[in-house]
């Protein structure tokens, strides 16, 4: 069993216009183990994506205090690739496009990065695995032969993120708004992919605005984030409550002084 723990995490980003640091996360605490699915819900601009980027190690996000621990060890000093090889995966909201590099060679490079130089995955074994995972996601070979994310539609990019997840098989996958821009059929397919990973050796942190995704990937725990903190945690029912009351309702219940970006 692996554990991922976020302790009193404070994260700032630098404003590109005035160069000043702005604190986005103001003390986030979260602990999860493999075998568990956690969902983080929250209104726009509350720091959900910041949390996922900080865990992955994006250098644009500066951890000013607190810690991130993987199996009890701080990973704050680790570069992104080391965190990934240690078992972290982030399905990104806006994956980069890389022309000239095919999806298939990228995935092989990613898998081989986790193996010894003299023990690279045999081509046959790789192709077999790819075929299996593509089938789960209703994907064809055509997409794997294309350049990485180049010219992919929004939905194709999301599907491709999940395909990588299935191929790489990390211990912890953070899914950053994997449902945005997906129609209901694509949402089902993507959920099927994530659910196929469920088991004792896999944990996931699902970041979403909407309760809808959680009908398909049922979480063990739901956390609500507002104003850079987790303000409430609970079981799957919490997501339903949120759907009924909205973020404003939860905020008022908890007597929080948080301004919601989209509030009228």
């Amino acid at each position: 069993m692996s554990t991922l723990e976020v302790k009193d995490l404070h994260v700032s980003v630098t404003d590109e216009e005035n160069g000043e640091g702005q604190e986005i996360l103001k003390g986030v605490n979260l602990k999860m183990s493999t075998g568990e699915i956690h969902a983080i819900m929250g209104p726009n601009g509350t720091g959900k994506s910041t949390l996922s980027q900080a865990i992955m190690g994006n250098s644009k996000y500066k951890v000013t205090s607190g810690d991130i621990l993987l199996d009890g060890e701080s990973i704050l000093d680790w570069p992104v690739d080391k965190r990934a090889r240690a078992g972290l995966f982030l399905a990104m909201q806006y994956p980069a496009e890389i022309p000239g590099v095919t999806n298939i060679e990228f995935m092989r490079a990613a898998i081989n990065a986790r193996r010894e130089k003299d023990d690279q995955i045999p081509v046959r074994q790789f192709i077999k695995k790819l075929d299996e995972k593509q089938a789960i996601l209703d994907m064809t070979d055509e997409m794997s032969g294309r350049y990485l994310n180049e010219g992919f539609s929004g939905g194709e990019k999301k599907r491709n993120e999940i395909l990588q997840l299935l191929m790489i098989e990390p211990s912890f996958a953070i899914l950053d708004e994997i449902d945005s821009g997906l129609d209901i059929d694509a949402l089902k397919v993507v959920s099927r992919g994530v659910n196929s990973m469920r088991g004792d050796n896999f944990g996931s942190l699902i970041i979403t605005h909407y309760q809808r995704l959680l009908n398909y990937i049922v979480p063990d725990q739901v956390h609500i984030m507002m104003g850079g903190r987790i303000v409430q945690s609970g079981g799957p029912d919490l997501a339903k409550k949120l759907e009924d009351e909205g973020y404003a309702g939860i905020r008022d219940d908890l007597n929080l002084d948080v301004k919601l970006t989209d509030e009228i």
Partner: protein
Amino acid sequence: MRPSLKDKYMDDVVQFSQQNNEPKWFTKFRTDNLTSSSDLSLPTYEKINYRSWRLDRPSDFTATSSISDFKAAQSESYIIQTGDKTLDSRLEQSLADQGVILTDIFTAIKKYPELIQKYYMTKVVKSNENRLTAIHAAMMNGGIFLYIPTGVKVTDSIQATFIQDNHIKRDFNQHVLIVAEDNTELTYLENFISDGDAEENKANIVVEVVAGNDSHIHFSALDQMNAKTTSYLSRRGITGNNSRIDWAIGFMNDGDIIGDFGTDLIGEGSHTEAKVVAITTGDQVQGIDTKVTNYGRHTIGHILQHGVILESSTLTFNGVGHIVKGARGSDAQQESRVLMLSRKARGDANPILLIDENDVTAGHAASVGRVNAEQMYYLMSRGIDEKTAQRLVIRGFLSSVITEIPEEEVRDRLTQMIERKLINGQQ
């Protein structure tokens, strides 16, 4: 004062020409150019300073190459030369039957004097252009002639491999003359490669491409001279009406080199796409001056140059788009981009547009920058280490040219070459 080239080399030039049993007119062509070389200046290129390389001081151009065996990838039609000697050559029978000529330049001078007199350093790269072209004309010591008669379509590629010999002291003054007559098609690939590293040598290479009316030429080149070789490489073409030359050039040398590339778009409605990729490593200097001149009406000239600089090397891309007065309805576009992987490296991308006609379209883009951070982050977030991720991003950055090369096998070779240069440079 140093003796002039004429005083120093006249006897050698005459003797070399006679030993080759060259016709008198060719000997005279050599000696005339040797004489005029002293009066001509070195060519100048924006932001490329190569005077200290002493390219205008030849050493020994008369030596015979010491290489007698070399393995090279082969197609149905090919020629493999090591300087003055042809090691192996083959021309598909059906092409020979249609009158296609693929032969060494010395044979061509004797067997096809009318064609050589008409085209050799007269129309594309003129012998009196500058001191280096004149030296080349005087001291040319190897090369090929490829001729495609009117109406012939060469569908499979013709490949030429030129091995530059650094086992011994020998100037490498190779000449390539390609003449494709009207209504022809040609896919041609050339590979300049060094062998040996015992001696330091100079190369002065001229490649001329004549595209007749309604012809279409795909020209790919992989240039791999090693660190012992300092080179001047002039590779240019001219177009007839409605003809087209597509260049895909992999500039992968390890030594200092000036590349003088380009096309004169003479014929109305003619078109060229000049694509160059370059990687520089160590402390080498690669200067690339790609120039397209629109002379004919409704001509299209596009330049695309992508390069990567490592360690303390220097890479300069000049892109020159020149539309002369009267070339109405023409288009000159260019893009030059340089990626810097090292703080000690120097890179330049200079767009130069010279427009002397109103009714035209023209544009340019140029940049010198670092590896895209978002792409790096994405690749590394999948566990790929920084160096491998860099190489993948670079491969993507260079892919615009790689994908232009028609043969998969050649694309793979270029990709491997890029990988090798990058790994060397990253250490």
